[in-house]
Symmetry: C2
Subunit: 231 residues, 2 copies
């Protein structure tokens, strides 16, 4: 005896929290929405998944269409499914996040009508975001903060060559607190994964600071197996 | 001018990957499904989210109804959204995971008709799972393995008092490889977070081994700030 199953036809969306570091500020990518009734809203890049695409493919397509950015390494970090989170009914959203170097990214330019523009916006000045985007952002930000404790993510946001002041500013922005300059430098240099370069900052009016590079091979050697007995 | 928005009515599910350690084996919780056309299938505990419940609430309810377990600390770990993952159409599933001490858990007993029974099953003998449950399990297992490298999760699975052999067996099960006994003990004891107790195993026919306890306070002291300069 065969059982007839009902067919489901579901709607869900993707939202992206893309972090960057620019002009000594931690920023995220926002868009200005262009279609009614959301016209003029400043929101996270996000939209509805198509019926025939996987959610990972959808995340890539949506970010590209809304901002012009592609080939990022995006990672799913949380799915938001509160009952009333969307005005159009039960729409859950799968949130993705990425860290990028703003200095090597191309121009931001939506390729669809849904977004009027895309831009980097300082995390500290976000203000009100529509839907539950404040919660989505905050969850992504917490994840960033947690990962800072056990992964070298700061160096995915900084330019390839950076000063210790830039590194400290980034840590302070992510941890949302001031750090003692002397302790910070001492600790960071003590690990041994920062390579001092034979170069200084260019084009600054104040005393040019030394530049450093992150040595991933050394990092891996040092932090491999700290607790894990694997290998 | 008001825009009329279409209303969405979506269907999505929860699947649970619950890890436990029992009789020196790493296990997960499975159910035998009871309703056609899935009758007799051995699957991860999972089911459809109701229209009026958040996904976190749904995860708790579904695990309870299918297995009788509740008050677990479950955590969302991934959402699976391949186009053809479910025979009834576009059903994405949000996967949750938890680690529990089997020795302090109550009897497994479904409280709904959807599951005929719930039981612990060795990870090593899983065989074929229905839907994309093999992928869901494998993703959860990878997460467990990664976390072993930076969080003291082994001690959430072991009984409160354990032998070094039990600890090693658990590490070997999660990492899926044999570890050298002498190196393992040396390394684990060198950290200083294992407290040797004045007790030995009871009720064993072979030579009783020493029992240890995990000292979380010491662990926190040691591993706090290893990379993070926070605090």
């Amino acid at each position: 005896m065969e059982t007839i199953l009902p067919k489901f036809d579901s709607v869900f969306s993707i939202d992206c929290v893309i972090f960057g570091f620019q002009a000594n500020e931690l920023k995220i990518l926002l868009i200005e929405r262009n279609e009614e009734p959301f016209k003029g809203w400043r929101a996270l890049p996000g939209y509805i998944v198509k019926k025939d695409e996987s959610i990972d493919d959808a995340a890539e397509r949506i970010l590209y269409e809304l901002t012009g950015l592609r080939d990022l390494h995006m990672e799913q970090f949380h799915t938001f499914g509160d009952v009333d989170r969307h005005p159009q009914g039960r729409v859950i959203t799968i949130a993705y996040y990425a860290l990028i170097r703003i200095d090597v990214q191309k121009e931001l330019k939506p390729v669809t009508n849904i977004a009027k523009s895309a831009f980097w916006y300082p995390v500290n000045e976000l203000g009100k975001l529509p839907f539950d985007h404040a919660k989505v952002f905050e969850t992504g930000f917490q994840k960033l903060r947690r990962r800072l404790g056990y992964q070298p993510i700061a160096f995915e946001l900084l330019p390839e060559k950076f000063t210790l002041t830039q590194l400290q500013t980034l840590y302070e922005a992510i941890l949302n607190k001031k750090l003692d300059k002397r302790n910070f430098r001492k600790k960071m240099l003590s690990y041994g994964f920062l390579k001092e370069l034979d170069e200084k900052q260019k084009g600054v009016s104040y005393r040019a600071a030394k530049l450093y590079r992150f040595d991933r091979r050394k990092y891996n050697k040092i932090f491999q197996n700290e607790l894990s007995i694997n290998g």
